[in-house]
């Protein structure tokens, strides 16, 4: 496959499932908004989805102006050769940081909750090795897994809801709308930009999609499905845990561990662990692939494949050294990360759109 053009073999349905699974991966790490918006998290999920959809539309508009081009190539066309490379390296920096931050999340989760004796590095090495293997197989191989993971996640979600019906207490939701207004703004910003806004990474993948015309519809319906799942999770978690949900690192995990049917069916959090690792594998593989394509295009090389494992090693090192403690991680995600992502998912695409309009480049409307 020619990397410079990488013309598409992803169908729109696969793109839809890929976007949904990509966001499912983040729904399991929902702890950062629950600490901010407490019982009103479900409201913030709805407003966050609206914001996220607008962000995705901005990125999609930019992509549809330059059909068949990734964000790295668009930067070069819009800003010119030198400034384009600078902007592209910023994008590489942020995609790279998404890769190692999410890898660290997987490591933290496994070390904290399932294998406390294992060193972090051992888990990260195994995990990244599997991701690198998937990335070397190409994006088509990765998105084909989307359907399987989608089913797995939906089935796990439905089973957990049925088993938790007994434990739900909807009086935990009152009083609604009593938090300071700033908390709703921050909550909307977090949900809108971190799970949904991260879809800007798909700007590296749209060129591989078969029919560019229907991309908008597939991405938005994928996001809608994920938003519904997220809403259900927000309601389920709060109605089971109540205000104790704010003290846990992963409220979703604690919610599932409440399940106990008779004496036989308990410890269902294994179900959650599996879907967490599997969906984050999917999410990280997509971002990792986007990163490799970005490297290939910025250095103008034919194939990213020899680089994959080396970049994997670098991201293992970085994900070990970024934080000294879990509490630093817990501060970064709700307070700094939304602004950080906003810059790349909203500010830069709008700037690129304006410059493209001013210079009169890019396709006007409609699609081929």
């Amino acid at each position: 496959m020619d990397i410079a053009t990488h013309k598409g073999t992803i169908t729109n349905k696969q793109l839809l499932l890929a976007v949904a699974c990509f966001i499912f991966g983040s729904t399991l790490q929902s702890s950062f908004s629950i600490g901010v918006t407490k019982q009103d998290t479900w409201i913030v999920v709805i407003t966050g989805f609206i914001v996220g959809a607008i962000v995705a539309l901005i990125c999609l508009t930019l992509s549809s102006k330059f059909p068949g081009k990734t964000i790295i190539e668009i930067n070069e066309i819009v800003y010119g050769k030198v400034i384009g490379k600078v902007v592209s390296s910023l994008y590489i920096f942020v995609i790279f940081s998404s890769v190692y931050l999410n890898t660290r999340d997987v490591g933290n989760f496994i070390v904290r909750d399932t294998m406390p004796q294992t060193p972090l590095a051992a888990i990260l090495i195994i995990f990244i090795f599997v991701c690198a293997f998937a990335v070397n197989k190409g994006i088509v191989a990765i998105v084909r897994l989307g359907f399987l993971f989608f089913l797995l996640y939906i089935i796990a979600l439905i089973i957990s809801i049925i088993l938790l019906l007994n434990n739900m207490n909807f009086s935990y939701f009152s009083p609604s709308f009593t938090l300071p207004i700033m908390n709703y703004v921050q909550g909307t910003h977090i949900i809108g930009l971190i799970p949904f806004g991260e879809v800007y990474i798909f700007m590296m993948i749209y060129p591989s999609v078969d029919k560019n015309c229907k991309v908008k519809k597939s991405v938005l319906s994928g996001m809608l499905i994920a938003a519904i799942a997220m809403l259900i999770i927000a309601i389920r978690d709060w109605s089971v845990l109540g205000s104790t949900a704010t003290i846990f690192k992963l409220p979703t995990y604690q919610t599932v561990s409440v399940i106990e049917v008779g004496e036989t069916l308990s410890r269902a959090e294994a179900l959650f662990s599996i879907s967490f690792v599997v969906l984050l594998f999917f999410k990280i593989s997509v971002m990792y692939y986007a990163l490799m394509i970005a490297f290939a295009q910025i250095f103008n090389i034919k194939s990213y494949k020899p680089l994959t494992y080396i970049v994997g090693i670098i991201s293992i090192c970085l994900s070990i050294l970024i934080y000294d403690s879990v509490s630093e991680n817990a501060y970064f995600a709700p307070n700094i990360a939304p602004t950080y992502v906003t810059f790349f998912a909203v500010v830069l695409p709008i700037l690129a759109l304006l410059i493209a309009k001013a210079r009169g480049i890019g396709r006007k409307r409609g699609c081929t």
Binding site: F93, H189, P306, C317, L321, Y323, I336, T339
Partner: protein, 72 residues
């Protein structure tokens, strides 16, 4: 630990480099060497227990202390 790292990097180089030389992809080889050097340095420093500045803390510094765009 260091010896283990050297062995692993040697194996990776042995797998990746010969095809690049055989197909005379010099540009790829240059980029590859750059990444390889970065990976070796980072992991050696980590293995030796040297404190490496975290890129995420740099981002945090810019957003929090320079731009003041953080929450809380």
């Amino acid at each position: 630990m260091i010896i283990f790292l050297i062995i692993v990097f040697a194996i990776i180089a042995l797998i990746n480099v010969p095809p690049l030389i055989r197909e005379k992809q010099w540009r790829e080889l240059t980029v590859y060497s750059g990444f390889f050097a970065l990976a070796v340095t980072l992991s050696m420093l980590l293995a030796l227990g040297v404190d490496i500045p975290s890129p995420i803390k740099g981002v945090q510094y810019i957003i929090k202390d320079v731009l003041h765009l953080n929450y809380k």
